[in-house]
Amino acid sequence: MDDVLTAVLQRHNFLTFVIIFLWGFYIMLTRYNLVKKLVGMYLVQTSVIFFLVTISAKRGATAPILLSTTAPIDPSAYANPLPHVLTLTAIVVGVATLGVALALCSAIYQTYGSLDEEEILKKLE
């Protein structure tokens, strides 16, 4: 039990990821307002991306931009560039899907006059 606790406390980025991920997920499940659900969805998305970027970090390394293009390159001096590339795509696609979800919210409000899940369900019956 003790070694699990010290392992968690050494990886404070991972602890932050777990807290934000689970809290955002809980908001998506329990809130009735659609925009509030989308806030939770955004938190889940960004927390997963945060975890991926955390994996790419190396102790004492700089950003993956080559300092000298002629000298031989030491890979441990630069952060791992591959998670950065994948998360760039994930951020942009995430905001694109968020835009579609917000347009859906706007259309729902025009039709049903509310963003509350239960009021919408009542009007559907």
């Binding site: 932050t16 329990t30 925009v35 938190l43 960004t46 970027v53 994996i55 700089t62 390159i73 795509t89």
Partner: protein, 176 residues
């Protein structure tokens, strides 16, 4: 010293995320969410991911906040429900269980900042060593994004185009 800065940034991240969740007024919640995005981009710049930090500051803190605010101006800016029914039992059991499992698995993760972790040791040194010869760009992230994985990036624009068409169709239906 370096650890202290990072912990302060992470605490600010948690506080702004909690604010975005707990505040009743949706407008304030969205603005706090923009602050959260900005602190996230600061953390990423701190970890050496400058390209990701720029994209998060522009797209996450800028564009996403603007999209949220435009939607709220067109709809109800308040959460109309003051009292919520109790949360479902399944969520109360499943989410802490998931959290305990995730934290239990932390023991097996590579140590933070370890240069020999599996993610950093298999193929990423090859990209770092060869990207300048192959694409003549000092920024390795740019050369991987625009050169090695250019097809991936091109199809990503198709995804964004589809999202744009979907938004246009949804909002046109509203006007008619």
């Amino acid at each position: 010293m370096t650890i202290a800065v990072e912990i302060v940034l992470l605490i600010l991240l948690l506080v702004t995320a909690a604010g975005a969740i707990l505040v009743k007024d949706l407008m304030s919640a969205i603005l706090l969410l923009g602050t959260y995005s900005f602190f996230l981009s600061l953390v990423w710049a701190w970890l050496g991911a400058v390209d990701v930090a720029f994209v998060e500051a522009v797209v996450g803190a800028g564009l996403a906040t603007v999209l949220f605010l435009v939607t709220l101006f067109g709809t109800a800016p308040k959460d109309s429900r003051l009292r919520r029914p109790p949360p479902p039992i399944a969520a109360l059991f499943a989410l802490p269980l998931l959290g305990i499992l995730l934290l239990y698995a932390a023991n097996d993760l590579p140590e933070f900042g370890d240069p020999n972790s599996p993610a950093s040791s298999h193929i990423s040194p090859i990209y770092l060593e060869n990207s300048f010869q192959d694409s003549h760009t000092p920024n390795v992230v740019t050369s991987v994004l625009m050169d090695y994985r250019s097809l991936d990036t091109m199809v990503e624009t198709v995804v964004i185009f589809t999202a744009g068409i979907a938004c246009a169709l949804l909002l046109r239906r509203k006007a008619s």
